[in-house]
C-alpha cells in the first residue's frame, strides 16, 4: 500500500473510529481491508465490536443533556461550523471518494451537496420548533401547547451506497433536533466517514454528540436494535430480513424504528425538516390559567 514519491515514503492515514470525541481503535483489535471495485487495497479499517457500540452509546447518553440543553441557535452555529470545516477539506474528501470509485465530477458534486445540506439543517435548528408546535384549544382553564423535543440517543445504520452524502444526510437532522447519535458508516466505503469524524472533531461539536463506527452491518445491527439505552434506530437499506429483525428487537424498549430505504439522498427529497421531526417526541403541556381566552364564556 505504501507508495514512494521520489525518495520519500508516503505517510498513510490510519482510519480509526470516533467515540466520545476521541479516535480509539476498536477494543476488539480487529480490522478489515477496504477495497475499491478493482479490488485494490485502500486502507485497513476498524471492524468494530458490540463493545465499541456499547461504549459509544454510553458517550452519546452522557453528551445528550448538554447538547439538547444548548440554545437551538447555538446548535445551528455549530452545524454551520461543521459545513465550514468540510468546505476547507473539500479536496481530501474528493480524493477519498475518487479512491472509492467515484468520478471527479461525481465526487465534487457529492461533497458540495454535503456542505449545502449541513447549511440547510443549520438553518432549521431554531426554526422547525415553531413550524411543528401548536397551541391547542381545550375545554378547561388551561393554556395547552405541544412542541417537539429530542428523543435521546439515536442508533443509525447509514446508507451503504452514498458513503459521505448518506452519512451526512442522516446525522445532520438527528443532531439539528438536539439528539445525539451513534452511526455505523458504510462498510464498503468507510474512508470518508472517518475523515468526516475529523471534521466534526474540529468544529465545536461536543465529544459524544456524534460517534462513528466502522464495521459489519450484519454483526452490529442486532445491538443497534436491542440496546435498552437507545431511543430510536434508523436503518437506510431495503434488506427485508434486517428490517424485520430491527423492528422485532426494538420492541423490547419500544424504540422508534425509522426506515429510510426509499429516500434518494442526492436530490431535493433527501432533505426536509420532516427528517428532523422523525426523531422528535411531541410534548404537550397543560398550564393552569385563571380563565380562557380573556373571556368568562370559555369555548
Amino acid at each position: 500500500m505504501a507508495t514512494t514519491t521520489g525518495n520519500r515514503l508516503e505517510v498513510l492515514k490510519t482510519y480509526k473510529i470516533y467515540i466520545g470525541g476521541q479516535f480509539p481503535r476498536t477494543e476488539s483489535g480487529r480490522y478489515y481491508i477496504a477495497t475499491n471495485s478493482k479490488k485494490e487495497k485502500l486502507a485497513n479499517v476498524c471492524l468494530s465490536s458490540r463493545k465499541d457500540f456499547r461504549d459509544a452509546v454510553g458517550k452519546a447518553r452522557g453528551a445528550f443533556g448538554g447538547w439538547s440543553g444548548r440554545a437551538a441557535f447555538n446548535r445551528g452555529q455549530i452545524l454551520y461550523r461543521i459545513a465550514e470545516m468540510l468546505e476547507g477539506r473539500k479536496a481530501q474528501f474528493v480524493d477519498e471518494l475518487m479512491k472509492q470509485d467515484s468520478t471527479k465530477a461525481q465526487a465534487e458534486k457529492e461533497v458540495s451537496l454535503c456542505i449545502d445540506r449541513l447549511i440547510y439543517y443549520s438553518g432549521w435548528c431554531d426554526k422547525f420548533q415553531q413550524l411543528f408546535s401548536s397551541v391547542n384549544p381545550v375545554a378547561s382553564s388551561h393554556f395547552n401547547f405541544s412542541n417537539p423535543e429530542p428523543m435521546g440517543v439515536i442508533a443509525t445504520i447509514a446508507p451503504q451506497g452514498d458513503s459521505l452524502l448518506g452519512l451526512v444526510s442522516v446525522i445532520a437532522p438527528i443532531i439539528a433536533g438536539g439528539n445525539t447519535c451513534v452511526a455505523l458508516a458504510s462498510n464498503t466505503k468507510p474512508l470518508c466517514a472517518v475523515t468526516f469524524a475529523e471534521v466534526l472533531n474540529s468544529s465545536d461539536l461536543p465529544g459524544g454528540v456524534v460517534n462513528i463506527l466502522t464495521g459489519k452491518v450484519a454483526e452490529l445491527a442486532p445491538f443497534f436494535a436491542d440496546h435498552m439505552d437507545v431511543n430510536a434506530t434508523v436503518y437506510c437499506e431495503s434488506d427485508a430480513t434486517t428490517q424485520k429483525m430491527i423492528k422485532e428487537k426494538s420492541a423490547l424498549n419500544v424504540k422508534r424504528v425509522v426506515l429510510y430505504d426509499k429516500v434518494k439522498w442526492n436530490d431535493a427529497g433527501g432533505q426536509s425538516p420532516y427528517f428532523i421531526m422523525d426523531l422528535q417526541e411531541i410534548k404537550t403541556t397543560w398550564h393552569p390559567i385563571e380563565n380562557i381566552g380573556g373571556a368568562k364564556a370559555g369555548y
Binding site: R54, R61, F223, H227, M228, D229
Partner: protein, 303 residues
C-alpha cells in the same frame, strides 16, 4: 483472643515499595472473569456494598428511600442478595434502623466529626455514643489526619482506642483518609496503628476527598491486614470507599482481595465497598448477563 499484645514502635520508619505496589495492583486488572464466575462475583460484590448517603441535604425521606432500595435492589431479578449495610450520618441512624427492621441489613453510622475529624475527643466520643445508642451496628470513625501528619502517633492510637471503647458492641471502621496521607508509607503506618488500637475494619476514605480509594492504596492496606493476621492471629476487615462505581472495577478488587487475603475474607463480614452508584452498575451488568441485552439507567432506581 491474644493473651499478650505486643505493640510495635510506631515512630520507626515504614517503607513501602511504591513501584512494586503499583505494578502488582495493575496485574489484578488483567484477569479475565466471564459468565458464571462473573455473575457470582457481581452478586458477591453487591452483597458487600455499604449503600451510602452522606450529604448535608440528607432528609429522613432520602434515607427511607435508600433503605427501601437496600431491601428491593431490583425486584424483576429474583434471588438477588441485599447490600451489606446502609451508611448514614448519626442523626439518620434511628430512621434507617426503623426502615430496615429485622432485614439483616446493618446500619453503619459515620461519627467523630466526620469528615474532617477536627473536634475534641469528648465530642467525638459523644458523637459515637449517640450513633450507637440510636442503634448503629457499625461506626465509621475518621482519624485526626492533622495530628497524624504532625507525627503524634500516640494521639491517634489513643483516639482510636477511646472510640473503640465508646462503640461497645458495634464494629468499628477506622477511616484513614488515604488521599490526605499522600504516601503509601503513611498509609501503612496508619493501618498498623488502627489495627493495634482495636479497629475491626480499616477503611480508605470518607469519599469527600480526591483521590479516594485506589487499587494500590487498598493493596497496601490489605497487606497490612495480612501481616497483622500473621503476627497476632486476629482478622481485620477492609473497606475501600469512594470512587468505585463500575462493576468491572469491583471485580478487580475482589480478585485482589482473594489473591492477598484469600477466601476467608471473601464475604461481607470481612470486606465492604463504600459506594452509592456501584449498586446500580452491578444491577445493570447482572441484567445484561441475564437478558443478553445492554441496559439503560432508565429502568433502574435513581439512588
Amino acid at each position: 483472643m491474644i493473651a499478650t499484645k505486643i505493640i510495635p514502635d510506631f515512630s520507626a520508619p515504614v517503607h513501602i515499595d511504591q513501584v512494586g505496589i503499583e505494578e502488582r495492583a495493575s496485574r489484578f486488572t488483567k484477569r479475565s472473569i466471564k459468565n458464571e464466575s462473573k455473575i457470582n462475583g457481581l452478586k458477591l460484590a453487591l452483597n458487600m456494598i455499604d449503600l451510602t448517603t452522606l450529604e448535608g441535604k440528607d432528609t429522613q425521606g432520602k434515607v427511607k428511600q435508600l433503605c427501601y432500595k437496600a431491601l428491593h435492589l431490583h425486584d424483576t431479578y429474583p434471588g438477588l442478595p441485599t447490600v451489606a449495610a446502609i451508611c448514614v450520618y448519626p442523626s439518620m441512624v434511628k430512621t434507617a434502623k426503623i426502615a430496615l427492621r429485622d432485614s439483616g441489613v446493618k446500619v453503619a453510622s459515620v461519627a467523630t466529626a466526620f469528615p474532617s475529624g477536627q473536634s475534641t475527643r469528648d465530642i467525638k466520643i459523644r458523637d459515637t455514643k449517640y450513633a450507637v445508642q440510636n442503634g448503629a451496628d457499625e461506626v465509621d470513625m475518621v482519624i485526626s489526619r492533622g495530628k497524624f501528619l504532625e507525627g503524634e502517633y500516640n494521639f491517634i492510637f489513643d483516639e482510636i482506642a477511646a472510640i473503640k471503647e465508646a462503640c461497645g458492641e458495634a464494629r468499628l471502621k477506622v477511616i484513614l483518609e488515604t488521599g490526605e496521607l499522600v504516601t503509601y508509607d503513611k498509609v501503612r503506618k496508619a493501618s498498623d496503628i488502627a489495627m493495634y488500637a482495636g479497629a475491626d475494619f480499616i477503611k480508605t476514605s470518607t469519599g469527600k476527598i480526591s483521590p479516594a480509594a485506589t487499587m494500590p492504596v487498598t493493596l497496601v492496606m490489605l497487606e497490612a491486614i495480612r501481616d497483622f493476621y500473621y503476627k497476632t492471629g486476629k482478622k481485620i476487615a477492609m473497606k475501600p470507599a469512594g470512587g468505585i462505581s463500575k462493576s468491572k472495577l469491583a471485580l478487580h478488587y475482589l480478585v485482589m482481595l482473594n489473591e492477598v487475603l484469600g477466601e476467608d475474607w471473601l464475604n461481607n463480614e470481612w470486606f465492604r465497598f463504600g459506594a452509592s452508584s456501584l449498586a446500580n452498575d452491578i444491577l445493570m451488568q447482572l441484567m445484561k448477563q441475564k437478558t443478553g441485552v445492554y441496559q439503560s439507567a432508565d429502568y433502574f432506581s435513581i439512588d
